[in-house]
């Protein structure tokens, strides 16, 4: 997602810097957090929490977009997973999301298709919950479209380590996902 120029640029901190960062990163952060939580309101809250932390850190805002973006993703993912932490709470949420979630485009589907989709989401989230946290974050970021460089910056890894973490994550996910829905 980030270009080489963006990754090496130095950014001054004009008065509207925060506005720029909000406009640029809000949509993508929301999309990533939504994958974790599956709830619009909770996702919006988590992303806002991340921006509140950014707003308090003037020095961070002066850093290049790529660094700020990585920091925001890290914070938002931590906040999202913290929210899900706790086996019983997580499972209750999974059940609730599975039963009640309706996406914007789903209204046009038949009830049977909608039910299948909801069941699939429940199974995917259950399988995800069993993948070790670091691998899970890597998996979510990669399948949200982030590059290895962006994933490495977000998770504090060497770029060369992303491939092996991702391979392990996908293997672990496939094993649990197949166990649940053979």
């Amino acid at each position: 997602m980030a270009t080489l120029t963006e990754m090496t640029e130095t950014v001054p901190a004009p008065a509207d810097r925060f506005e720029t960062l909000f406009g640029r990163f809000y949509p993508e952060l929301y999309a990533v957090v939504y994958r974790v939580l599956g709830e619009r309101m909770a996702s919006e809250d988590i992303v806002q929490d991340a921006f509140l932390k950014l707003n308090d850190d003037a020095e961070l805002q002066r850093k290049p977009d790529v660094e700020v973006g990585a920091w925001l993703r890290r914070v938002a993912l931590n906040l999202a997973f913290n929210r899900l932490r706790g086996e019983r709470r997580a499972r209750a949420r999974l059940e609730r999301v599975g039963r009640l979630e309706t996406g914007t485009d789903e209204a046009a589907d038949t009830p049977a298709i909608l039910m299948l989709r909801v069941e699939e989401q429940v199974e995917v989230r259950r399988a995800l919950a069993e993948v070790p946290e670091r691998q899970r974050e890597c998996l979510l970021l990669r399948h949200s479209g982030y590059s290895y460089a962006e994933i490495a910056a977000t998770l504090g890894l060497a770029v060369g380590s992303v491939g092996v973490l991702l391979a392990r994550a996908e293997q672990a996910f496939r094993a649990t996902y197949r166990r649940q829905s053979p």
Binding site: G38, Q121, S147, G163, A167, A169, F173
Partner: protein, 401 residues
């Protein structure tokens, strides 16, 4: 790193699949190594399974520019709310969060709750509609909430309303009863609630509080609520002609003039004491919330009339026409509290609750619902992570017990 004599690691192959490794020696190795061919096949299959599965969790679409702008406004609202709470009232790190009324309700519900407060500002406009002109003779300088009505606001309208109300800060000064300056368009922080008994709360709000029939509460909800009382508040917005003229001129609205008699005129919004009954469940402290208060009163001090205020406020630059049109359509404007409903978050319908006409709101996920109605001179609200039918049963069962 690729060695001429050894097979590359699985991480390297995984990166190669994503075109993150483009060394041509990898392609050459793959043509001659059955072990790596098998490994790459496995990696490819696992990646495809994950990709197919995870794509089912994605948002149908990313937030649009309008929705992002609205999120930014909501962020600013939340930020100012936080900043407006004095440090002494902020929770210390590591301690349980202070019971700051709505602080632990998801933001959209906090905004819905603050719809009450936003309604104060909109009520001012309601009082100045054409429909209300005749009745204004009887209620020349006062508005008292007796019923509620929905005002639908789209994401774009929400942004415009917040900006227009925010601009009021440049036309005058908003003060709380304590004398602290506040910003128009920004709902000043509600007074910190105090935990009390139901009897004490009834005494403080001035009428016997109602509670739901425990049989109507969903399974898992503790039937004993935590009761909190929020003290009454008074907001005073005083017009300042010189400040307003200067602002309007500098923003290219020199044609919008504030007449002399507006200078020093004051709108007084009195919110009564309110009680909040908080019902918890094992996985949520706010499984169900029931709020009760007296009526909201808006009055005017100074030389201006309601008609003049209406004309001026409705001419404020930036206020969306779709909103002012809906306000104009409200009958009994002088006793109807408009409740702004963000159409991107909630759908609503008119409904009767426990003898009073009100509004039933559903959030678009189907997870949460809320009801608000006025009855017997009191305003009632119920909200929670309940289906609408279950919530209505709770609302209908409210009674003094």
């Amino acid at each position: 790193m690729i060695l001429e004599t050894a097979c590359p690691e699985r991480g390297t192959w995984r990166a190669w699949l994503d075109h993150e490794e483009n060394d041509p020696r990898l392609d050459a190795h793959l043509e001659t190594c059955s072990t790596c061919t098998h490994l790459v096949g496995e990696l490819r299959e696992a990646a495809a399974v994950a990709n197919r599965a995870l794509s089912s969790l994605g948002v149908a679409r990313h937030p649009s520019a309008d929705e992002t702008a609205l999120a930014r406004e909501r962020f600013a609202w939340r930020q100012r709310q936080t900043a407006a709470i004095p440090d002494v009232q902020k929770p210390a790190a590591g301690r349980r969060r202070a019971p700051a009324f709505v602080s632990h309700i998801p933001t959209p519900w906090r905004i819905a709750a603050s719809g009450m407060a936003a309604a104060m500002a909109l009520s001012v406009l309601v009082g100045f509609t054409d429909v209300g002109r005749t009745a204004a003779a009887a209620f020349l300088s006062q508005f008292r909430s007796q019923q509620v009505a929905a005002i639908e606001v789209s994401p774009q309208s929400q942004t415009e309303i917040m900006k227009a109300l925010g601009a009021l800060g440049n036309l005058g000064t908003l003060k709380t009863a304590a004398g602290a300056n506040a910003r128009p368009g920004v709902v000043p922080p509600l007074p910190q609630p105090r935990s009390v008994s139901l009897v004490e709360a009834s005494q403080q709000v001035g009428f016997p509080l109602q509670t739901p029939d425990p049989k109507t509460l969903p399974a898992g909800i503790d039937p004993t609520p935590q009761v909190q009382v929020i003290a009454p508040t008074e907001l005073r917005y005083t017009f300042d002609k010189s400040k307003a003229s200067s602002y309007l001129r500098s923003n290219g609205h020199a044609n919008v003039d504030l007449p002399d008699k507006f200078d020093g005129a004051t709108l007084v919004v009195s919110t009564p004491a309110a009680a909040l009954l908080q019902y918890s469940a094992k996985d949520s402290r706010d499984a169900l919330l029931i709020g009760q208060s007296g009526e909201l009163v808006v009055s005017v001090e100074g030389k201006v009339t309601l008609d003049e205020l209406r004309d001026f406020l409705l001419s404020l630059p930036g206020l969306p026409k779709e909103t002012t049109d809906q306000l104009r359509l409200i009958r009994n404007w002088n006793e109807t509290l408009p409740i702004p409903i963000p159409t991107d978050k909630y759908n609503w319908k008119s409904e009767r609750f426990n003898g009073g006409q009100g509004l039933l709101l559903n959030d678009n996920t189907g997870i949460g619902s809320a009801a608000i109605w006025q009855s017997g001179g009191h305003l009632y609200g119920v909200a929670g992570s309940l289906k609408a039918n279950d919530l209505k049963r709770v609302a209908d069962s409210l009674a003094v017990r």
